[in-house]
């Protein structure tokens, strides 16, 4: 009886939450974004509108007929303007916005703006039209098919002295037809979006809590359970939060991709407006790199690193939690522009001077602010992980005994926190340029647009390795364990990682071969970029050789690892085409680049992380994942993935540029891209939907296996590293601090003399007083 009462109360709560979800999105977006462009008015003709200038708009019907075209007359009286044939400049101009329907100029006195508003001609310095010297103008307006419209009219009355002094302007607003409900301000939209996110997240959390033990569900037990998660500083719980955050935004980024793939499916499409398209590809890139890939990697690192190196937790657990919580806080800022229709449209690279220009959306400011928090998060977690690696390896674990996943995380963390301050400083400069008016990227003040590219890519290229190296680490672990063989050439693997880490800092110029960067630097980075292929090659060949003489057990994570080998090799090879300048001049900023970095990011990182999910899921949850669904996930995912990105190489060679709203193919009337472009794009779009669907299989598998999977033993795959020592799921603290594990060795090496580096490190270290058991 009591149980059913609890159940009905639960359902009631869920119903209320669902209702809230339904209501929250009814807040409408604010058409002019965060800072209303029309509110500023023609401030060049005086700061505030003057009541002396009276504008009028004639020709609007009292009863609106859908789709009809009306001729509108715009006139004004008053102000300093006067009739003077000798000085026609002494008249005025206007600007008319309408919320719906289509405006069209009638004669050459009026021009159509890119935002659909109309204004007098002669605003452009290159334009010699005389529309600025009138007192009345005529435009045509085609009414929308349903609903009414809101007009905003500004008129200038100028005194003809060719300066702005003494001029005045007036404002008129007019409504026709049925009006929509009052539109929400940017802040209201933001607040309701936050509310929506909170409500959805809370209902999911509540559901998870309910499913854990439906019989014993009680509201009183929920809050302690929930607040324990959000205040937790335990590396495993923070790791879970990171993974949830990462997977959620992987889905969001994927949705962005799907939407603009629909736009690109056929040539000349207008499914999205240019503004929407630009925002979506910007947020796709930003989301995938900063809110999906990096949190997922941090999630793995959080979960696995302390377990693997035999530490009880990370060095600074509270800062670890802070580093995590900065991510959702940053996401709020990054996305808040989107909610108001003015999201960042700068590309994830945010190149200057576009990012500081007025043509960039106002949401770009918030995007920059959000990125600053991401930088803070990465710096904090970088410090934390560096400290952990350097100080908390289990007794007996010298540098050359760390598992390769930990090594790859160490190098990745090192690269991240050395390089990211450059990005942070660049962001602060842009933020100040956009807010208080410094001029770092203001070309009129001598600002150098390339400085941003330099600061960005000084970070941006190491960042690519930051996200891909952990995937290398996962593959090393998975292949070694699955093949039942020690990784081939452990030392050369470590040196290759370190080599990538160092060379990765001096290659970034290859992103800027066509940018007008210093030619010497172009030449230098061309040479160094080629060099990166050597350590990467070593890693691939070592992985291949690891399987030699082994007994490869085929599991889902093995399949993803083998899939990774194929796709990452392809991605690595296509990367070799860019440092060759003559090829880069053609391929730069085309779909070839898109194909290349998706082969590295998806085929490299995401496949690596999927492999890691299947590999460590039993350790984290204590339950095995379903292998059959896993194989289905791999097959559909691998095939559809290749169908998406392989044709993009072809598109790039044919010269289809990236980041373009649409494309045209050659027809009888005009010349454009080859006709096959359209077929490839359609194929890519269809495959993109398949790939998205295949990821839902993973999500389903994770949830169902997490709830109902077989219980996992502590070492289900027979791995050697220390995370397999503890139970699944691991206890807290992960390794008993009063009884830390000590790394043992299968082969006892003689007391070989330490090498040069070993002697140098010995010289630097505090002399050892106690036992001499330390390696290296």
């Amino acid at each position: 009886m009591i149980g059913s009462m609890k159940k009905s109360r639960t359902l009631g709560i869920l119903a209320i939450l669902l209702l809230a979800v339904a209501i929250a999105p009814s807040a409408q977006s604010y058409p002019t974004g965060i800072s209303g462009a029309q509110d500023g008015g023609c401030s060049c003709h005086g700061q505030t509108p003057s009541s002396d200038v009276v504008a009028s708009l004639e020709g609007l019907p009292s009863e609106l007929e859908a789709g009809a075209t009306y001729t509108l007359n715009i006139t004004f009286t008053g102000g300093p303007s006067y009739d003077d044939n000798a000085n026609p400049a002494a008249l005025g101009g206007f600007h008319l916005w309408v919320s719906d329907g289509v405006l069209a100029p009638v004669d050459e006195m009026v021009q159509l703006n890119s935002d659909g508003s109309v204004t007098h001609t002669g605003t452009d310095k290159a334009d010699t039209g005389m529309g600025n010297d009138q007192r009345n103008w005529t435009v045509e307006w085609t009414a929308p098919m349903d609903g009414g419209a809101k007009f905003v009219l500004h008129v200038n009355s100028v005194n003809g002295d060719q300066t702005n002094g003494g001029d005045m302007w007036g404002k008129l607003t007019a409504d026709v037809g049925p009006q929509p409900a009052e539109q929400a301000s940017g802040l209201t939209v933001l607040a309701s979006a936050i509310l929506l996110m909170v409500v959805i997240t809370l209902s999911c959390v509540l559901w998870v809590f309910y499913r854990q033990d439906p019989g014993a569900f009680a509201w009183e037990r929920f809050w302690p359970w929930f607040s324990d998660y959000i205040t937790s500083t335990d590396h495993k719980k923070v790791g879970t939060l990171y993974m949830v955050n990462g997977l959620f935004f992987l889905g969001v980024g994927g949705l962005f991709a799907l939407i603009f793939r629909v736009q690109l499916a056929v040539p000349g499409n207008d499914f999205l407006t240019q503004d929407e398209y630009n925002q979506f590809f910007t947020m796709h890139g930003t989301t995938m790199i900063f809110l999906a890939a990096m949190p997922m990697i941090a999630g793995f690192a959080n979960w696995i690193v302390p377990l693997q190196i035999g530490a009880q937790d990370l060095a600074l657990p509270r800062l670890n939690a802070l580093a995590f919580w900065l991510n959702p806080a940053a996401a709020l800022l990054l996305f808040s522009g989107i909610f108001s229709g003015q999201g960042a449209d700068t590309g994830w690279t945010g190149y200057a001077p576009y990012i500081v220009s007025h043509t960039a959306h106002s949401g770009a400011t918030l995007w920059v602010a959000g990125q600053i928090l991401i930088v803070a998060s990465s710096t904090i977690s970088g410090i934390n992980f560096m400290t952990t690696f350097c100080t908390m390896r289990a007794p007996g674990m010298g540098w050359m005994h760390m598992p390769l996943f930990s090594w790859s995380m160490l190098i990745a963390t090192l690269m991240l926190f050395i390089s990211i301050p450059a990005f942070g400083i660049g962001l602060i400069q842009v933020l100040l340029d956009r807010t208080i008016g410094t001029v770092f990227y203001e070309v009129a003040a001598g600002g150098d647009p390339l400085l941003w590219s330099h600061l960005f890519w000084y970070f941006g290229h190491p960042e690519v390795y930051v996200v891909v190296l952990p995937a290398f680490g996962v593959i090393s672990e998975v292949l070694s364990t699955s093949a039942r063989r020690t990784i081939f050439g452990y030392k050369s693997m470590v040196f290759a990682l370190a080599g990538i880490g160092i060379v990765g800092f001096i290659v970034y110029g290859h992103h800027m071969f066509t940018s007008g960067m210093s030619p010497v630097l172009r030449f230098v980075t061309m040479l160094t970029t080629m060099l990166v292929a050597v350590p990467t090659g070593i890693k691939i060949f070592n992985w291949l050789q690891t399987m030699h003489g082994g007994s490869l057990v085929y599991r889902t994570h093995t399949l993803w690892a083998l899939g990774f080998l194929v796709t990452f090799t392809l991605g690595g090879i296509s990367g070799m085409y860019f440092p060759a300048v003559a090829m880069d001049l053609h391929l730069h900023e085309t779909y070839f680049v898109v194909a290349h970095f998706h082969y590295v990011f998806v085929g490299g990182i995401v496949f690596g992380l999927y492999s890691g999910i299947y590999y460590w899921f039993p350790k984290a949850t204590g339950r095995m994942m379903n292998e059959k669904i896993g194989i289905l996930h791999f097959m559909t995912g691998f095939i559809s993935y290749n169908l998406i990105f392989w044709p993009m190489h072809r598109l790039g060679i044919q010269g289809m540029p990236r980041r373009q709203h649409t494309y045209f193919i050659t027809t009888d009337e005009y010349f454009a891209l080859p006709p096959e472009t359209a077929d490839w794009n359609m194929l890519i779009t269809v495959a993109a939907f398949m790939f998205f669907a295949s990821n839902l299989i993973l999500v389903y598998n994770m949830i169902s296996s997490g709830l109902r999977g077989q219980k996992a033993p502590s070492d289900p795959w027979g791995g050697w590293s220390m995370e397999w020592l503890v139970s699944s799921p691991p206890p807290t603290p992960s390794h008993d601090p009063s009884n830390l594990p000590v790394l043992e060795f299968a082969e006892i090496h003689g007391d070989s003399e330490p090498g040069f580096f070993g002697r140098m490190i010995q010289w630097m270290m505090i002399p050892e007083d106690d036992d001499g058991g330390e390696e290296e």
Partner: protein
């Protein structure tokens, strides 16, 4: 017409050849090892005696590792050398080139055929020419070198730049607002136009390249970035 210039295809073919070889090696290696050394019955044969918490026995071979360090390195040196070769051709100024000003604007291209636009001391032969204008340019022998008109692409009026085959051209690039980049599709070259500075591109269209090709913007520049196109026609 195929996109990409002569040098691009020359290098592309060489790189494709070596890429195919590397890919072939990797794939054969991977499939061979992953099939030959698989666990036949699916059971766990702990070959290297993995035990949690025990660093496993070593598995390396210095000679093999050195081989796949040195051999790829030689290949890389070779490819770098090959890629370095055409730099002179791509990145050299030709003093005799006919200069065309290209200016990026949000969101249209501005061409100017008059190479003496910004200079007061143009040679006399040019100054005296009657047809001198920014849209058409004849050389001293009265041969048409550069002409600018318009063309309709998908209902939009776009600039049409006409240049002569086997003539050397220098494009002087700048921008009025943000970064753009003209991408001469069939020639396979591009360079950013940066506001406040001048970048340059040199190219001599060959007789093989006669015909029309697209010019697109390949540095993201805002709303109508995707529509910032022009047509380049090479005539005989």
């Amino acid at each position: 017409m195929e996109a990409g210039g002569e040098i691009f295809w020359y290098l592309f073919d060489i790189f494709n050849f070596w890429a195919a070889i590397v890919l072939f090696i990797v794939l054969v290696w991977m499939f061979h090892h992953s099939l030959k050394y698989r666990s036949k019955d699916g059971s766990d044969n702990n070959i290297d005696d993995f035990k949690p918490g025990v660093f496993p026995k070593e598995n390396d071979d210095l000679k093999m590792e050195l081989t796949w360090t040195i051999v790829p390195f030689i290949l890389i040196v070779y490819l770098t050398y090959i890629a370095w070769g055409p730099i002179d051709e791509m990145w050299s100024a030709d003093p005799d080139a006919h200069e065309i000003y290209v200016t990026g604007n949000q969101w249209y291209w501005d061409f100017d055929c008059d190479p003496f636009r910004d200079t007061e001391n143009a040679p006399e032969s040019y100054l005296s020419m009657e047809n001198r204008s920014s849209t058409v340019f004849y050389n001293a022998n009265g041969i048409l070198i550069c002409e600018i008109s318009t063309i309709e692409v998908e209902g939009q009026i776009k600039p049409l730049l006409r240049v002569k085959a086997d003539e050397s051209y220098g494009f002087l690039l700048t921008s009025n607002d943000v970064t753009h980049a003209p991408f001469f599709l069939d020639w396979g070259i591009k360079e950013d136009t940066q506001p406040g500075m001048e970048t340059r591109l040199y190219y001599t269209p060959s007789m093989d390249e006669i015909g029309s090709s697209l010019l697109m913007c390949t540095e993201y520049c805002g709303k109508d970035h995707g529509y910032m196109t022009a047509v380049v026609e090479v005539f005989e």
